[in-house]
């Protein structure tokens, strides 16, 4: 059956219309990823509105194409400008830029895009292998488990994205959970925080919030005057590039697997995947001091790690309807907008969807690699576009992207409001990812907790009597205690 689904999916992607959609969207993603300030989340969110009139199959192909393209495209700016095109490519800049300064920019871009492609392909295998397993496990989940899963997601996302102060990540996540409480509640349809406004009573749409949180702050920040110098793409031998890839096979596979694992963790995105993979390769290297001075394996690891997160982030979407990263959250919203219902029942209701997503990912990775090689010569020109020209256009696209979901100016105003919120979060160094995850998981948290309490007549005891709940509780407790140095104190006491 799986083979049939795979063949059907390949047939669908290879139809002339869908192939054109794939190439255009992957190219668009690459360009958006290349341009500093346009993150992958923003790219997918903006394009979601544009796919409104496409068939669901074409829409999913285009969104996955943009996602893969944008994550990979970020490496070009990281290597040639020393400014990551997307946060996912931050680790790539460490060795990519020194390589470009040594006149090996072309080779570095080739290695980065090839590693990105291979990383994505490895993640496709993981999606195929792990999604059915996780889906089976998720069928064991009841209301208590889903409640704790959402809490676990916010806590771990807060821990991993807050750069040292997890309290800020948790605050961000809790505010996100609160935003999701706005509007009629799912159990009693009782209006909360609506203040008599009919539009607010309907709840706040996800896409405008995402565009505001991730796009708006970048636009405002780009108004600052800065000087950027683009290094040129140098010529290189493709065979030399493949030799480096072959020499770094172990690092490539290890980074891809790290990326997949990071991707599976709710809300923790491609940037963490890139950093962890880079760190793992540096730690296991015989010459760690070479890292940061133009080490090929650094570029390869970072890019394989961030791109394989894409597949990893899709696994919890398909099996639990919980996004693994911020761009994946937009993807989840887009899946729902186009009539798909990811979650525990997916493998029973529409098993072909898993294979369709995998084939789309596979094709997007291949298309991305080919397009990246073709456009590499023009990268310098694309990167040379002034942000003073780009950002006003991007803001107009933010307006359009927010409006087209429900055709409401109210959504545009929501985007603006959350843009201001996102800007202040960014200024105060609060991570936006837990906020977004909170918004997505908020209704799950509320409805499942209250449903569980209704069944248990107000008792929290069942939460401590279910094995999966206990695993989540221990994990949440460990994550919280680890941030307050409890384990270190215990270790010291033992010594």
């Amino acid at each position: 059956m799986a083979i049939t689904y795979l063949l059907q999916s390949f047939g669908a992607v290879l139809s002339p219309m869908n192939l054109a959609v794939l190439l255009i969207s992957t190219f668009t993603g690459l360009v958006m990823g290349m341009l500093p300030g346009l993150s992958a989340t923003m790219a997918v969110a903006l394009l979601t509105g544009l796919t409104y009139s496409l068939s669901p199959t074409s829409a999913i192909i285009s969104l996955i194409g943009v996602y893969v393209g944008a994550i990979s495209g970020g490496c070009q700016a990281a290597i040639l400008l020393n400014i990551p095109g997307t946060p996912a490519s931050a680790a790539t800049a460490l060795d990519g830029f020194p390589l470009a300064k040594q006149g090996k920019g072309g080779l570095a871009v080739f290695l980065a895009t090839t590693a990105s492609c291979i990383g994505t392909l490895i993640s496709v295998i993981c999606v195929l292998a792990f999604t059915p397993l996780l889906t089976k496990l998720s069928l064991q989940f009841g209301s208590w488990e889903f409640f704790l899963l959402s809490l676990f997601g916010v806590v771990i996302c807060g821990n991993l994205t807050s750069k040292g102060n997890a309290v800020k990540g948790w605050i961000s996540g809790i505010i996100g959970l609160l935003v999701a409480q706005v509007g009629l509640d799912q159990v009693d349809a009782f209006p909360r925080f609506a203040f008599g406004n009919v539009n607010v009573m309907a709840g706040l749409a996800l896409i405008p919030i995402m565009i505001g949180l991730f796009g708006f702050p970048e636009i405002i920040k780009a108004f600052k005057k800065t000087e950027e110098h683009v290094l040129k793409i140098s010529k290189f031998k493709v065979s030399e590039g493949f030799t480096y890839i072959r020499q770094n096979t172990v690092a490539l596979i290890r980074s891809s697997l790290i990326g997949v694992c990071v991707g599976i963790i709710p809300g923790v995105g491609e940037d963490v995947g890139g950093w962890l993979s880079y760190w793992a390769t540096k730690s296991s290297s015989k010459d760690p001091e070479k890292f940061g001075t133009g080490e090929m394996s650094g570029v390869i690891s970072a890019e394989a790690g961030n791109n394989s997160c894409i597949g990893g982030a899709i696994i919890p979407i398909l099996s639990l309807a919980v996004p693994g990263s911020a761009p994946a959250a937009v993807l989840l919203a887009a899946f729902m907008m186009h009539g798909y219902r990811p979650g525990p029942l997916l493998m029973n209701e529409s098993p072909e969807f898993l294979y369709m997503v995998c084939v789309d990912l596979f094709m997007a990775a291949v298309a991305m690699w080919m397009i990246a090689q073709l456009v590499a010569k023009f990268s310098v020109k694309i990167l040379g576009v002034k942000k003073e020209i780009l950002m006003p256009i991007i803001y107009v696209l933010c307006i359009v992207g927010s409006y087209v979901i429900n055709h409401l100016m109210f959504d545009v105003k929501v985007m603006f409001f959350f843009g201001i919120v996102g800007f202040f979060l960014s200024m105060m160094e609060f991570p936006a990812a837990p906020f977004l995850l909170g918004v997505i998981l908020g209704s799950m948290t509320d409805s499942n907790l209250r449903r569980a309490l209704t069944i248990s007549e107000g008792s929290f005891m069942p939460m401590f009597q279910r094995p999966i709940c206990l695993v989540f509780l221990v994990a949440i407790l460990a994550l919280i205690l680890s941030q307050f140095g409890v384990f270190e104190k215990l270790k010291r006491k033992k010594v």
């Binding site: 948790w170 909360r192 636009i219 803001y395 107009v396 307006i399 309490l453």
Partner: protein, 160 residues
């Protein structure tokens, strides 16, 4: 760098504290209006989240005043504020933000989308000194036309 972080934490903890109080008060009103047992009420989760937010804001605040106390943070804030007011980049960001607000809340409400967008892009690019007037005019006209053509004609998506 550490001082900057402390100041950020100090300021944000005050804002978060105020937000959490607001949430708790509003949730209490919801609880009264809903008239249900607390754990079944629509206010239950907002109260839990508001309380958590309150606790975390206090933790953040206490961490921020560990070295120097409130007076040190207040002095730092005054210094940062004065530097920010004099900074050209802050002015550029604020002006850009105001232009975006005017476009969103005024121009789009009273003018057709293409005209509002043309005016906004032209004025913002001009303010940001993106190039000569002719260059800005051409880019604005082409991009405006392209957005309208792509969304309304090609994808048949209605625009604001």
């Amino acid at each position: 760098m550490e001082a900057k972080k402390k100041l950020q934490d100090f300021l944000s903890s005050i804002v978060v504290f105020a937000v959490s109080i607001f949430i708790l008060v509003e949730s209490y009103k919801i609880y009264l209006k809903a008239g249900k047992v607390f754990y079944l009420s629509a206010a239950f989760v907002p109260v839990l989240l508001g309380a958590l937010l309150l606790v975390l804001s206090v933790v953040l605040f206490l961490g921020s005043i560990k070295e120097g106390g409130v007076s040190a943070r207040t002095t730092e804030f005054q210094e940062v504020w004065q530097a920010m007011v004099k900074d050209n980049n802050s002015l550029r960001m604020l002006t850009g933000l105001i232009m975006m607000a005017i476009y969103t809340f005024v121009l789009l409400e009273i003018l057709p989308f293409w005209l509002a967008t043309f005016l906004f892009m032209f004025l913002l690019m001009f303010f940001l000194d993106a190039g000569s007037i002719t260059k800005i005019l051409i880019i604005t006209a082409v991009m405006d036309g392209l957005i309208v053509f792509l969304f309304q004609v090609c994808f048949r998506v209605p625009l604001p």
